[in-house]
Amino acid sequence: MSNPDYDLVIVGGGISGAAIAKTVVEQSAKNKKFPRILILEAGRATALSADKYDTYVEAYHEALIKVPNSPYPASASAPQPDVLDIRPLKDAHGKPKIGDQGYFVQKGPMPFGSDYARSLGGTTLHWLGTTLRMLPNDFRMNETYGRGVDWPIRYEDLKPYYERAEWDVIGVAADVDHQYYPGIEDDDPKKYFRSKNLEKFKNGVYHFPMEEIPSSYLDQYLAKHVDGMTITLPGMDRDEPDHEFTIRISNTPVARNSTPTTPDYKVVGAAGNADRGQRCEGNSSCIPICPVQAKYNALKTLYELIVRYPYQLKEGEKEGQRARVDIRSQCVATEVMHDDGKVTGLTYKTYYDDGFKPTDHTVTARTYVLAANAIENATLLLASNNAANRSDQVGRNLMDHPLLLTWGLLPENVGAYRGPGSTSGIPSFRDGDFRDARTAFRVEIGNWGWNFPENTPYTTVLDLVGGGEDGKAQFYGKALRKRLGEILPRQFRIAWELEQDPEARNRVTIDDRYRDALNKYRPVIEYDLSDYVKASLPWAAEASRQLFAQLGMAEKRRRPTYETGDYSHYDADDASVVQYEGETYCVRGAGHVVGTHRMGDDPTTSVVDSHQRSHDLPNLFIAGCGSMPTLGTSNPTLTMTALALRTGDKIAEELSK
């Protein structure tokens, strides 16, 4: 192909695509190369203008059930999964049943419990913004614990990219000294974060671009009551001794604007409205939407690109003097065309809101990047005549962080429902020799009462107003407000986020019977938890019991009564029920969609190499959380961004040749 339309075409206008585009532009400029880049986004670009973003905020305000996708309008042409579509995958007789009422076609045996947003900006529109790095052992699970697979790169390889992701793309607020992680050198966060960039960080002493978001009052309350306590968890059998864990409340690094640690760092406000969102305001709706965009979303990076490098040349500008970035929304990629070991073009459909029929297009480039959600990347490859799939790993090893929620009513007002969704966690269970037998987990402390497990505060209002059989309201007016004031601020919940191991049977496939309005394949999902994951459920539940007891919440309670105690319970008829060793648990999805095109050195067992380049089609990069061979216990967006930067460097190097 002599004259491609673009130097680089990226499918997906989320954080991975945005970070790759930005990196390619900036790194190429160092070699005086100025690429033309096209970003294709399946969803709408509504949110890129500040006043239209406000229509999303209004949609959130008006939604009766505030799930992650509630502010973001779905489209039949680019449908998206919604957690409200999750149903039990069994019929009335207990026989398996396919769940196809939503966008996903769920074949089970468990429903895949997470969603993502198909909209410009992607799922960063509704992520919580947790930006933990992975731990060193997370990259070598097989070598250290004989589980899962090893990454082709190690923590030290990715470290410089983590730093750039934290500074140049996302903007992370955290304090190195308050990161108490297991499995790091000498248990010393300073060593774990030590930088090789001595120019920027004197003596390698790393610091984040912004000061930590202050720990919530709840975090401080917990620190006072449980910091230093020992939790003892039983071994599986007599051969395995008990395991002891020391609890330490650790402030969590987040993609949330706060005070810069140095005047050189420029805080990035809302896309298109730079004077908004320069600090977190504590609006307490990070999920599903930060109304001021103090939380990072990929729109910020995309906005920077189109303002600095507009595709349209201005009067007097000549081609080849600066980079040019073109973003086209409502363009759904339909096929990666490939021939003779390389990609030859990409087809996509553009849909319109004014009644015109969708139109078909083909675009060519020197290099192609798939940077959609892991499930979308896999679906597209499978629909492209099984592209890049010599390993038969495309779509396989689908992972998430299954969450076990536990919740209770504390004896005192801890100020629930204030501030960001989470400001601290308990990292004690993120690594240890127990990982040979059961999965590691991270503990996220939730600041928003019981909204996740019980849809409070709304249900608490209903409980108190009551009605009961006699139809009489119990509380109303001032008495209702007073009682709510006594209950809601004491509500407390923890999410025990379990690492899921890669399994070939957990997979995305396509099926001719299931297509969307544009005739594109819908993802067909088979999903389950391994015994390795399930073995941590009783551990998490037991750790929760010990923690709750220490906090005075040992007594088992249930709504609609409200007394100090443990309200955790799991219903057998829940869609996401898990039975393990005679106990019933429910797990929720964390929105961490990972692993459908894993990276590795061996082309027969992995889809991409460590630069996220397809083993089979060298001019194709398949980027995003899908490349992660294992998940660890950190929320994957930061790692995905670090990988995107590494990929961006590689593409820039090649385009500069």
């Binding site: 140095t262 004077d275 305001e281």
Partner: protein
């Protein structure tokens, strides 16, 4: 009658007093703009709201800049009345407010967004406050006809080595650039004469005190310092309010003195809460409505105190049950930021509440700063009484 002319500042004491009043002058316009901003109904008048909001944020920046200059000269910003050329002047205004210092501004009144309100904004920000010739503005005794002349006098004093020596600039108690945010540009830390002048120039350049020559320059002229991230640019307050007043944007080729002739900027004056200002003790609003007005004033009082406490470099003791003493020392600046959000919520709630005796109108925040502990106690006590009243 002889025409009075503005006097230059004669010594360091007078300069410090003038800077105390400059901090207050910047504060005094904020409630005027906020009342209009918060009266806009949710989801309407996006452009008007953005314009007013951007100006408010710059006034906040200016207040901090003036405080940094004052602090650098070794004087703590204070809400206490200042003796300036024999007059006792309170830096914090009571509305409606006629500045004894700068006569050209006229009366500062708290109004919801309306054509009158926008007219007054334009007048405040015009170099000669709407007059063609500053000589037509009567100079008050010991004061200045225009804000521009007031700042000119401050600049002249800061430039004079007779009035302030190099060693007078201590760089004490600076609000840091990293602590100021929300657009509007960067806060300058004042460590010497040069940075002091830069700080005052920044105030003048963005807002009030704009030199008349600027009316002949392109309306959308911005200095480098006003270029925010992503090429976001802020031109003068005057030009921004002129756009609201005329309902059109300036064309990039027009000068600030011309009438904007660019694209339409629609302002819907009906999508505004019909708030009506009634001054403290000037009404018969009791009950929960009266209590809410008092509580707003108390919240505003606390906010102003926190801001000044932050400027004076002090910490604030706040309650924290988790501390053994039950108290914790905190930087008052972030507390003040909390106070700003709380104030907005209260203002919006007031402006949605009908006045019982005049239901076509809604309550209007008074922004009444209760200066003494007695005043505060009275506001608290009457609020409590009124809360208990029922109708």
């Amino acid at each position: 009658m002889t025409t009075r002319t503005p006097e230059p500042i004669k010594d360091l004491t007078e300069l410090k007093a003038a800077l105390q009043l400059a901090v207050g002058l910047e504060l005094s316009t904020i409630p005027v703009y906020l009342t209009a901003l918060y009266s806009i109904k949710d989801g309407t008048n996006t452009d008007a709201a953005q314009t007013i909001r951007s100006v408010v944020m710059e006034e906040m920046l200016h207040m901090a800049l003036a405080a940094n200059v004052l602090n650098s000269l070794g004087e703590r910003p204070s809400v206490r009345p200042v003796t300036f050329r024999g007059n006792q002047v309170s830096p914090v205004p009571v509305y409606p407010y006629t500045s004894p210092l700068v006569s050209g501004i006229g009366e500062l009144a708290l109004r919801p967004l309306s054509t009158e309100a926008v007219d007054s904004f334009v007048r405040i920000e015009h170099p000669y406050h709407g007059e063609t010739d500053p000589a037509k503005i009567k100079c008050p005794k010991g004061g200045y006809p225009t804000i521009g002349m007031f700042y000119d006098a401050i600049k002249a004093a800061l430039e004079s080595t007779k009035i302030c020596k190099d060693s007078d600039f201590t760089g004490a108690r600076q609000v840091k650039a990293t602590e100021y945010y929300g657009g509007a540009g960067e806060l300058i830390e004042v460590t010497d004469r040069k940075t002091a002048l830069a700080a005052i120039n920044k105030i003048v350049d963005q807002g009030e005190g704009l030199p008349i020559e600027r009316m002949k320059q392109q309306a959308k002229t911005v200095t480098d310092e006003d270029k925010l991230g992503y090429g976001w640019q802020m031109y003068s307050h005057y030009a921004r309010f002129r756009e609201l007043q005329t309902g059109r944007r300036f064309r990039s080729t027009q000068t600030a003195g011309e009438t904007p002739a660019g694209s339409l900027l629609l302002v819907d004056y009906d999508a505004v809460q019909p708030a009506q200002f009634v001054k403290l003790n000037g009404d018969i609003t009791g009950g929960p409505e009266g209590a809410a007005l008092n509580e707003f004033d108390l919240a505003y009082t606390r906010l102003v105190d926190d801001v000044y406490l932050a400027f004076s470099g002090a910490e604030k003791k706040v309650e924290n049950k988790l501390e053994p003493s039950g108290k914790q020392s905190k930087d008052p600046l972030p507390l003040a930021v909390h106070g700003m959000y709380a104030l907005k919520n209260r203002a919006v709630a007031l402006m949605r509440t009908p006045i019982p005796s005049s239901p076509k109108h809604t309550l209007c925040p008074r922004f009444h700063y209760a200066a003494t502990e007695d005043d505060r106690k009275k506001l608290r006590d009457t609020a409590q009484q009124m809360r208990g009243q029922s109708r």
